[in-house]
């Protein structure tokens, strides 16, 4: 590709916006899904007297999961419904994630998905005041008032399993360890889990609302704090979305720095989680070594951006680092991880715990739209680094980090996929650091901020360490944020956990849960 930073393909791919109607919505969505698109998100935003819905779908360019050669495509179907007559025809039967987004919008905006097969509340907890939709209406002094929350009187609806010897184990929302709140209801026969229902959404902070009224630059600090372990992933998706809305072009060098920060974030999270999976089978010795590696990586992060969790690295329009990472430390960390993983997998007792535990089949994974390492461990080859690039692959030294794919779908597959990703990430960090250190690509600035262009929208897609992560940003005519929709991959992956638990035994649940390790805060905004 060309050496000049602004030439080459337009990356990231811009979103094509297409208005639709209630009548045509289902056919349009079905046509896009049939054409290889996946449902990324459904966003609702306030319009005068109406709610504007955007159904965002995207198709990868090539790759085993997409029709090759057709080119990457990002489409937003838009639909406006009056607040007096707020309903849409459901797409839940066409797309499982689509159905969940509809429930989220029903709880937050009051738009009813008509004929939804599972119309239960999702985000809403029973103690919320009746008919209170926290995101409905422009942000004002009134919407910022916290309402009077009542007592949670309604019983939490879950499928009661009948039969001889079936009993229930309620766990949480407050747990013994240092983990986020979530309530799990197990129906168990003996030790075998018949059914598990997870109740999340205990940490609703109104993050999306807090973005509103900020300038795009001020939104960065908020994006960094959506989910602490995914500071780079969220900030980068946010920045990409803002840049599309504002028409900013990011210099090639900054794009490469962003790709590098993304892999550093993947490394420290994977190292810690691999250790904790082993700790859950009481192999503490491996855990302490992996936590040592994680600490070294966090210190390395601090030397790179000045913050252990890599905050401050990505900004709207570019990326800043204090120093490039020490490649020796990166190589050492990757070697240590590989060694501990090898020792653990050679241990028959450890291996016995991981093999065939909590299997998520490929079919279920595809149908539920599962993302990230959970999907790749079940044989679904999705990776936004390749499918939806924000940096010209030719500018990447050695190409983007290769996705690791396994087909077993068990805890072992998720474990080994992540171990292989650490290796790939380390190789990429080393290669990218060498390219950046040798001066190229040059830090020439692209054409900077155009004048405000009225209401403008943008989409950011990033392969964060948990998987494909999107932000969809609307910038108002005053240049301030009017709506930010955040979709952490956890939103897609949480429902797959109960599916994987079928026929798993109760004492293996913590292990299964740890191998998924989805975010509670990223899921509930």
């Amino acid at each position: 590709m060309s050496a000049t930073p602004t030439a080459g393909p337009v990356l990231p791919q811009p979103v094509l916006s297409r208005p639709t109607t209630r009548e045509a919505l289902r056919a349009d969505v079905a046509a896009l899904l049939a054409d290889g698109h996946r449902m990324l998100l459904v966003v609702a935003e306030n319009a005068p007297g109406a709610v504007r819905l955007g159904y965002v779908l995207a198709r990868p360019d090539g790759g085993p999961e997409g029709p090759s050669g057709a080119g990457e495509s990002r489409v937003e179907l838009t639909l406006e419904v009056s607040t007096d007559d707020a309903w849409v025809p459901t797409i839940a039967d066409l797309s499982y994630p689509g159905g969940r987004f509809e429930r989220e919008i029903r709880d937050l905006f009051g738009v009813e998905p008509r004929d939804h097969p599972l119309p239960r509340r999702l985000v809403r907890h029973a103690h919320w005041p009746r008919a209170w939709h926290p995101l409905l209406g422009e942000r004002s002094a009134q919407t910022d008032v916290v309402p009077d929350f009542g007592e949670d009187l309604s019983a939490f609806p879950f499928l009661e399993v009948g039969g001889d010897g079936v009993y229930e184990i309620p766990v949480g929302p407050v747990h013994a360890g240092l983990i986020e709140p979530g309530h799990f209801r197990f129906s168990v026969v003996g030790e075998t889990i018949v059914r598990m229902k997870a109740r999340l959404w205990y940490v609703h902070r109104g993050v999306e609302r807090l973005f509103e009224g900020r300038t795009p630059d001020d939104g960065v600090v908020l994006a960094e704090r959506i989910s602490g372990d995914t500071a780079v992933g969220h900030t980068l998706a946010y920045a990409l979305a803002c840049e599309e809305a504002l028409g900013l072009v990011v210099p090639q060098r900054d794009r490469l720095v962003r790709a590098l920060l993304l892999e550093l974030e993947r490394m420290h999270n994977h190292a810690a989680d691999l250790g904790m999976i082993l700790n859950d089978v009481a192999f503490g010795l491996a855990n302490v070594h992996l936590q040592r590696v994680r600490e070294n990586l966090l210190r390395l992060n601090e030397s790179v951006t000045g913050h252990r969790l890599l905050r401050g690295g990505v900004r709207v329009g570019g990326a800043d680092v204090v120093a490039l990472p020490d490649v020796g430390l990166v190589r050492a960390a990757a070697a240590d991880v590989a060694e501990v993983v090898r020792l653990a997998l050679e241990h028959p007792m450890v291996l016995d715990r991981l093999v065939a535990t909590a299997v998520l089949g490929r079919e279920d994974a595809v149908r539920m739209g599962v993302l990230g390492y959970v999907a790749r461990a079940s044989g679904v080859d999705v990776d936004a680094r390749r499918d939806h690039p924000f940096v010209d692959p030719a500018a990447l030294p050695g190409g983007p980090p290769a996705p690791a794919v396994d087909s077993e779908g068990d805890v072992l597959a998720r474990f080994t996929v992540r171990a292989r990703e650490v290796e790939a990430s380390a190789r990429f960090v080393v290669a990218a650091t060498e390219v950046l250190a040798s001066g190229g690509p040059r830090a020439s600035a692209g054409p900077q901020s155009a004048a405000p262009r009225g209401i403008a929208r943008g989409l950011g897609i990033v392969e964060a360490w948990r998987g494909l992560l999107c932000h969809r940003v609307t910038v108002g005519a005053d240049g301030r944020l009017a709506r930010v929709k955040v979709v952490d991959p956890s939103f897609m992956n949480w429902p797959a956990l109960p599916v994987a638990l079928a026929d798993t035994i109760v004492p293996d649940f913590p292990l299964a849960n740890k191998s998924f390790n989805q975010s509670y805060a990223g899921n509930d905004l």
Binding site: I169, H175, A282, F283, I505, V506, P507
Partner: protein, 325 residues
């Protein structure tokens, strides 16, 4: 006549001393186990005294009981502690001597062990919480597999001695060291060691340091206990661990234990017995903790396989001791 009385007084003194030594040393043994693990993992560790400090702290605290709990919630801890103390008195750790009217018989010892096990199981069930019930269910499943092994293994050891009392068994090994390495004896001790690991909730059967409620066995049963009650349950459990570990140590390395002799053990013999048992048990604690560091926890459904294996070993030991002698 008076010599007989003096002898009996000496035996009682020896047994009381043995009980006191075990009670004082049990929390230290737990400290050793934790410290050894910490060092293997590259941590500084909490020090040997921490279990004692925890115990003192808990003993000063008022026990709170969950609503719906019954009399079991405060009786069971007492029973667990009581059975632990009784074990400390009965099982030959410092001395093989025992009062004639208090039979340190194999069946008595296993029964006392079982009383504690059942009390702990009832304690877990009492508050009616899901975790407690889950822990009790697992605990009793494991106990049902462990107790026969303990019974059989010790029975195999009793065959060459001709007595089912533990004191003479240990004395017999001391008198005839050849028995320590006899095939049947080795099988029996290995079976017993596996049973002890399961009985005392150590890795690979249970993980004493986990915070994951759903994987717990022992910890799940004591979740609802607090304050003095928790102190009693913990000390009772630690006593079981110490006594059983010391018993295995005495069977493998019988030297140093104070024998009953003619007129009960004398003071020098007792002093030697205390030092010997402390050293032996601490050493076996180091071995146990080290083995744990390099092991993972078994899948719960694999635990019966392990315990069945130990039962088979014990059975072979019994057969072997009749055939080989």
């Amino acid at each position: 006549m008076s010599g007989e009385v003096a002898g009996e007084v000496r035996v009682v003194v020896a047994v009381v001393l043995q009980t006191v030594v075990v009670v004082v040393a049990a929390p230290f043994l737990v400290g050793v186990l934790r410290q050894v693990r910490a060092r293997w993992e590259g941590r500084v560790g909490q020090g040997l005294l921490q279990p004692w400090r925890d115990l003192v702290k808990l003993a000063r605290k008022e026990p709170l009981q969950a609503s719906g709990s019954t009399v079991v919630a405060w009786v069971a801890p007492v029973v667990v502690l009581g059975s632990g103390l009784l074990l400390a008195a009965l099982v030959p750790t410092v001395t093989t001597a025992g009062p004639a009217r208090l039979p340190a018989d194999l069946f008595v010892v296993v029964s006392v062990l079982l009383v504690g096990t059942v009390a702990l199981g009832l304690l877990g069930l009492d508050a009616g919480s899901a975790f407690g019930g889950m822990g009790s269910s697992r605990h009793l499943t494991i106990a049902a597999l462990v107790e026969p092994t303990v019974l059989l293994a010790v029975y195999a050891l009793s065959v060459p001695v001709g007595s089912t009392a533990l004191g003479p068994i240990v004395e017999g090994r001391l008198a005839d060291p050849g028995r320590v390495v006899a095939p049947a004896g080795v099988l029996a001790v290995v079976a017993l060691a596996i049973a002890v690991v399961a009985e005392t909730a150590r890795i690979p059967v249970d993980n004493p340091s986990t915070h994951l409620e759903l994987t717990m066995v022992h910890e799940a049963m004591v979740l609802e206990s607090s304050g003095r009650d928790l102190a009693a349950v913990e000390l009772g459990s630690w006593l079981r661990l110490s006594v059983l570990l010391a018993l295995v140590a005495n069977l493998v390395v019988p030297w140093g234990v104070a024998t009953a002799g003619d007129g009960g053990p004398g003071l020098p013999a007792l002093a030697l017995g205390v030092v010997a048992v402390v050293v032996k048990t601490a050493a076996s604690g180091v071995v146990l903790a080290t083995a744990e560091v390099f092991m993972a926890k078994l899948r719960l459904f694999r635990v019966p396989e392990l315990l069945t294996g130990s039962f088979v070993l014990a059975f072979l030991a019994v057969t072997g001791s009749y055939v080989i002698g």
